[in-house]
Amino acid sequence: MGGLNLIQLLNGLTFASLLFIVASGFTLIFGLLRIVNLAHGALYLFGGYIGYTVAGSTGNFFLGVLASMLCVALMGLLLDEGLLRFVRGFDLRQVLLTLGVAFVLNDLALVLWGGDTFSVPIPEMLRGATTIGGVFYPKYRIFVLLLGVAVFAALWLMLNRTRLGALIRAGVDDAEMVEAMGINIRRVFLATFMLGASLAGLGGVVGGAFLTLYPTADSEILVFSLAVVIIGGRGSLVGAAVGSLLVGLLNTIGQVMFPELAYFVIFGPMAAILAFRPLGLFGRAV
């Protein structure tokens, strides 16, 4: 084992970036709505397939991204307003219901797109490689890296500098109080749910281009997202970023050093953090 070289480090960072895009949506919904959306992985997969279909038929990657984010946001709307409304206030029933939705969506994806492995076509201008720090590295992965940073910046600005963000932060702390101030918290919740879902869709298309899409991809991304949220703490954007970096890099180290047991490597930090901070690095008790 010759240690990590720059390419492996970059691979870890790009994977972390994708994880952040997916997990940030997950943690936003978890933090504000107290809903653990276990269908998040399925939304990722659906988003990826939709992006693949649209990008493939129009030849435009960014149209695929847009279509996927819109469709998945709409699915989020249906999930929240159509199903979750019946179990509001019951945490466990909500979680288990989204788990049922995940099964249905996964099977539906299998019906619609079959069990083959797909890869979302990469746009012309992002193909090929470029030199970075003396090594050749695919342009597309650098794009993913930058996109992750951009999503972090956008979410941070949204949460800290806009009215919606202020409402979301207030809602995390005390939803009842926000409602008492005359704000329709349900609409804030719904907006957050759709935003979080659309991030899963974005992740699906972006990830589908370099990790490929296949029927169990949803479970895999869900485990990683769960690990990120367990490590980072519920509802924390910074926690999601730190968790993604940790999980992304460790997963890459794991794949380099013990290819067959890579999954096991994320278990270590999760265990350590739970032992000392059961609510995650940046988690707060409610």
Partner: protein, 315 residues
Amino acid sequence: MLVDSFAKNRPAIIAIAIVLLVFGIVPMFGSNYQISIATEILIFALLAMSIDVLAGFAGRTSLGHGAIFGASTYVVVYWTSVVGGSPIVAVALGILAATLVAAVFGMLASRVSGVYFLLLTLALGMIVWGVALRWTSVSGGENGLRGVGRPEWLNDPTVFFYICLGIVLTLSAVIWRLVQSPFGLTLRGIRDSESRMSSLGYGCATHMFIAFTTTGFFAGVAGALYALFNNFVSPSTVQLSQSVEGLLMAILGGIGTLFGAFIGAAAIILLENFVSQYTARWPMVLGFMFIATMIFAPEGVLGAIRRIFRVGKKS
């Protein structure tokens, strides 16, 4: 004294008698296929009961027991086929492995509750699945491992069925005793108010750890029986839907009813066999059932009946 203990254990005695009666006569009328379905129901009822101990009596919904169950299955099939060891040793090792996996899970999960417990057990279970999928040199990857078949004396489906029936009913009685014991009462106390129990001086985390490990043992027994029953193991044995099916069985039978697990397991497995004749869309049916249960009958079939007739015994 004897009368006392009879009165206290009456629900368990009645339930076990009913199960014994209903299942006991299956081999007299059923074909080999029906016997094998009945065997499968018994095995999964044990898994569902192990989940119900945590969900119903300790207030912790686990999504990791399918993986614990499957870990045992993997060890049994690996030991008999790859190592070529004896099935008895294999079963012992499988149960031991499941108990150890449960102990590790329990160590991490004993300090959290509610949604966090669910998430954590889900993540831990999926790590087992990921390892089973990727550790190709040991687990056979996606192709799984094929066993060498049951030993001679167990090969007859009727014999194997009665052995399963004996084991599952014995363990049902053990689980019943467990939840009625002071230990079980402490678990219920923790379920109702963890802070109160810890101010009374109970070590909540220790109790949870012991409870989790013990239920892992029961899930491990079920997994070992499943290995002998199915003679094949693949990542789908440890995947999330295994835990989900087990949990749904426990919920349908009624969380906290323990013996409802038999009803839940029978309902799900009969339905699965029925649906599979017409379509390959079982996961979708399972998903819809889960959604419908959560919306309409979260207290399960027995719970719904209890609610209607108000015959529930106050526990």
